[in-house]
Symmetry: C2
Subunit: 311 residues, 2 copies
């Protein structure tokens, strides 16, 4: 079991935790209905560098929009996308983390314009087509082969022990839902994430996108959205960034046994090495005793063979 | 099967629909993952007269609040609750349906004050205790025995044919979730409903209620919330009131086979006879060919024996 994990402390703690909560004679036993495991997606289940996979999808939508309305290319964020000005795009994210959201908001507003009036089915087709046909710009792997083999093994291992796996991501729920069953064995109803506000249009008999964000599912919203969806507190949570702290904390502070896993990107050779955006999470892990899995040491393999991952 | 249903058209259409979507050789076949059935709760799965069961719970909370802060009893809505002024309470609802929401808003604002800072667990205990100990004021039955026997049979029948049953109710999600597994076999994650905005409080390590409504899950919000939760369009939908029209319409207008069921309360002898709040729904059912089940003719039994329902 868990062959892509090295025989180190992270793997040992996972196996020990699963044994304790599934053993009916253990004081830490949890019945199957309570075995809820939640996973962040970008950087936890699949690669998030050089940027989240979804951002390329969004940039293409913006570029397509500017292609239809050339005047848009004269202003941000379309200008940056058309000119492939990654410096502007990167700076918008950097500024966001410093509390200046003006550029990020202009980007989000632009993106929302791409989808107004689009049905949920049409959006799902566009997202699914992108994910099934695209390729990571640096790793050269198909997007769907950018999932981490140790984590998909962990999902199967937990499912095999009666756990219900859920995704709780800052990424867009309806983007990920198109592939989570295929790549993670997680059905759409167990995907929680950010969402655009939707409305029912009786004239078309369908649900369409509006120009508003419903919820940005990050930080303190993660536990709230998990509970709202499931009506249960998770006993296992895995993340990799500061936006996962409250989800991990919520899991850790439940009444019974729990396990929190923080993936640490310290593997410049096989993936990427970075702590940006994870500084606080690493400190909290050390303070609160969460399990930290450094990719370089904890994982024998990072990615599954590309062909296999796409089967 | 379905012994509490008379051998009439409603039962016949249900059995025929289930046969068509489960028969692998049928052109209307739907694989199990797509067999989503959604049910309104108040008036569809259990009795909603003289008022929704939840309203008594809410009134008790308001009365308790006024008991702690006697000055509250001098103003609405606490005054009406303390003085058992059902005329004022009823008028607030009536006014709402005429577009005047002032009194209803004062009531909702008062109710929200009852729960500020309460954890989701504490709320669930209060709701569960109320539902398990209370008794219907006119039927004399325990609340949990106010479910309709033909509908709980229908839930079992659908589940037995690979359907996933969900509740989509205007009532509060977290109120119903405390008993839906027990009375309907529907786990908490399949309950969609109105909700109070929640927040994660790191100081207590838990999710607590705020003083704001997150969503009132009625009318056009029902299909949106169903899709947001499940990522799938239902193929079976049952309701009883105008607030269910869009949910039924969304189901009816899917790409494949679907069935819409409208429960009609025409049984003054065994339950209640009323069309108030269902006028448009009945017209839409006639226009669009939804199946109408009048309780007097379609149901052999309305309520299960009380003792059995509570086991």
């Amino acid at each position: 079991m868990l062959p892509s994990w090295t025989d180190g402390p992270a793997r040992g703690e996972i196996v020990d935790f699963v044994r304790r909560v599934t053993d009916e004679d253990s004081s830490a036993h949890v019945p199957p209905a309570g075995r809820i495991a939640v996973f962040d997606n970008d950087g936890t289940l699949w690669c998030e560098k050089p940027g989240p996979i979804q951002s390329e999808f969004l940039f293409r939508q913006l570029a397509r929009m500017a292609g239809r309305e050339p005047k848009l290319a004269e202003r941000q964020p379309w200008k940056a996308v058309v000119e492939r000005d990654y410096a502007w795009l990167g700076a918008a994210i950097e500024k966001h983390y410093r509390g200046d959201d003006a550029d990020l908001h202009s980007m989000v507003d632009g993106l929302l314009q791409c989808y107004v009036g689009l049905t949920t089915d049409a959006f799902a087709r566009a997202a699914g087509d992108f994910l099934r046909s695209g390729r990571h710009p640096q790793l050269g792997r198909p997007y769907l082969a950018c999932t981490y083999a140790p984590m998909t093994e962990l999902l199967r291992y937990l499912a095999g022990h009666g756990f219900t796996n859920c995704i709780a991501s800052g990424g867009t729920r309806d983007f990920m839902r198109t592939v989570t069953e295929e790549v993670y064995g997680i059905p759409p109803e167990n995907v929680v994430g950010s969402s655009v506000a939707l409305e029912y249009r009786e004239d078309v008999g369908d649900i369409v996108h509006t120009a508003a964000v419903e919820v940005f599912d990050d930080g303190p919203m993660k536990p709230v959205r998990i509970w709202s969806r499931l009506g249960r507190r998770p006993i296992f949570a895995a993340g990799n960034a500061n936006g996962d702290i409250q989800m991990l904390d919520y899991c850790a502070r439940g009444p019974g046994a729990s396990m929190c896993l923080l993936i640490h990107h310290d593997d410049a050779e096989r993936e990427y090495a970075y702590t940006g955006g994870a500084e606080e999470a690493l400190m909290r892990a050390a303070r609160d005793g969460w399990t930290v899995a450094g990719m370089a040491g904890a994982w024998r393999t990072v990615f599954a063979p590309a062909a296999g991952a796409l089967q």
